[in-house]
């Protein structure tokens, strides 16, 4: 099976998965809690339909693809903002500090993205390279912000709700692979370009699986059984006491 055929099959597969995800979002009313994520998924489905319909017309496909990609990246950033609000809103003590650090992270990432555009603009001749460069800068900001979310919530010891974690993980995985793709695809030969496109398709399908899985599997509830028994606590206590008296 040729690489192009695999990519085509992946494309069809991802459309099927997107339809399943859209149905799951509607059935579980997830769009009420995550409107930006729902908008992102419905837009991805719309994009898949439009680009599939225009696949035969190269010029129309190019413009439709990159216009939809731009809107998709903006919606992706809105999803990041939604995750941030969801993770930190129950913790007013952390929210102020986290918002401040988030702001600094946004500024730093935008500056890095500007540096990427400035340094690479000399080599980015032609419309395709310019579009790839813009996509690289935007994805850089997106990946950086998702990394910040994971790092900050880990530093603050926050427990993510299952569906929020799934949304962030799926978006982060796809954005990271897409960042590598848009960064390198302009510098490699046709065969490697095909490999990158394949990797991008696989990562998007994997993200769809992650989203579906995390949305459909029921959330694990904290139970009293997880709390240790008294004698167990005493054993741990004894161990720490021994550690101190060493």
């Amino acid at each position: 099976m040729s690489g192009r055929l695999i990519i085509h099959d992946l494309w069809i597969g991802s459309i099927v998965l997107q339809v399943a995800l859209a149905v799951a979002l509607l059935a579980k009313r997830t769009w009420q809690n995550f409107p930006a994520f729902a908008a992102y998924i419905f837009f991805c489905l719309f994009e898949a339909g439009v680009t599939y319909a225009l696949f035969g017309n190269k010029v129309a496909y190019f413009w439709a693809f990159w216009t939809c990609e731009t809107i998709g990246i903006v919606l992706g950033l809105a999803v990041v903002r939604e995750i941030f609000t969801n993770v930190f809103s129950p913790h007013p003590a952390l929210r102020k500090l986290a918002t401040m650090i988030f702001g600094v992270a946004v500024i730093a990432l935008v500056l890095l993205a500007c540096a990427v555009i400035y340094v690479q603009s000399a080599n980015a001749t032609g419309m395709v390279n310019a579009v790839l460069l813009a996509a690289e800068a935007a994805r850089l900001v997106e990946v950086g912000l998702i990394m910040f979310l994971f790092l900050s919530s880990s530093a603050f010891g926050l427990h993510w709700r299952q569906n929020v974690f799934g949304i962030a993980l799926g978006l982060g995985m796809f954005a990271a692979v897409d960042l590598v793709t848009v960064t390198l695809i302009g510098h490699v030969g046709v065969t490697t370009q095909l490999a990158f496109k394949l990797a991008r398709g696989v990562s998007f399908s994997a993200s769809l699986f992650i989203w579906l899985g995390y949305l459909l599997v029921p959330e694990h509830a904290t139970s009293g059984a997880e709390v240790p028994k008294r004698d167990q606590l005493e054993q741990w206590n004894q161990a720490v006491m021994e550690l101190i008296s060493r």
Partner: protein, 172 residues
């Protein structure tokens, strides 16, 4: 070329981070409260004897002892941070209680646990600095009273919410 390498490195770091986050989440699924001996911890962070040691011991021995002490202190801070994180997770479910006093107590506990997490970050930063420069004295003194207040609040929450009274209150 350098900037391309930086971008690729960032993307690869992101993938690694996501992998670690998934692993840590699986590990944390079985996370529970662990005891903290506060009087021992207090003794550890009381550094009045440090000046005496500094005067009496050769510098190399003093540095070695101080770093040992810092490592143990860091473990305690880590345990307090871990317990505060477990409290954040456990109290999240109680915050939506239909009983207003239970919900209010849970909100207080959550707030305090979040503050402790921040204090732990500060304490780790201070301990790291001390580890690098053992002549410094930066005691994370705020941590003990905050943690005690948390214990009292959790106990109060346990009293209000009879179902979780014994485990939550006695575990930390």
């Amino acid at each position: 070329m350098t900037i391309t390498v930086i971008v690729i490195a960032l993307a690869l770091c992101a993938v690694m981070l996501f992998y670690m986050a998934v692993r840590s989440r699986i590990k944390k699924a079985g996370q529970s409260f662990r005891p903290v001996d506060l009087s021992a911890f207090r003794t550890l962070i009381d550094r009045e004897d440090e000046l005496f040691m500094k005067e009496k011991l050769p510098r190399s021995k003093f540095v070695r002892l101080k770093r040992q002490r810092i490592r143990v202190t860091a473990r305690y801070v880590g345990r307090i941070a871990s317990n505060a994180s477990a409290v954040l997770h456990a109290s999240a479910a109680v915050r939506v209680s239909p009983l207003p006093e239970v919900a209010a107590a849970a909100a207080q506990v959550t707030e305090l646990a979040a503050q402790i997490r921040i204090q732990c970050l500060v304490a780790w930063a201070k301990l790291s600095l001390e580890y690098a420069m053992p002549s410094l004295q930066l005691t994370p003194a705020l941590l003990v009273p905050r943690y005690q207040t948390l214990r009292e609040n959790v106990r109060r929450l346990g009293d209000l919410q009879t179902q979780s009274q014994i485990p939550l209150a006695s575990a930390i």
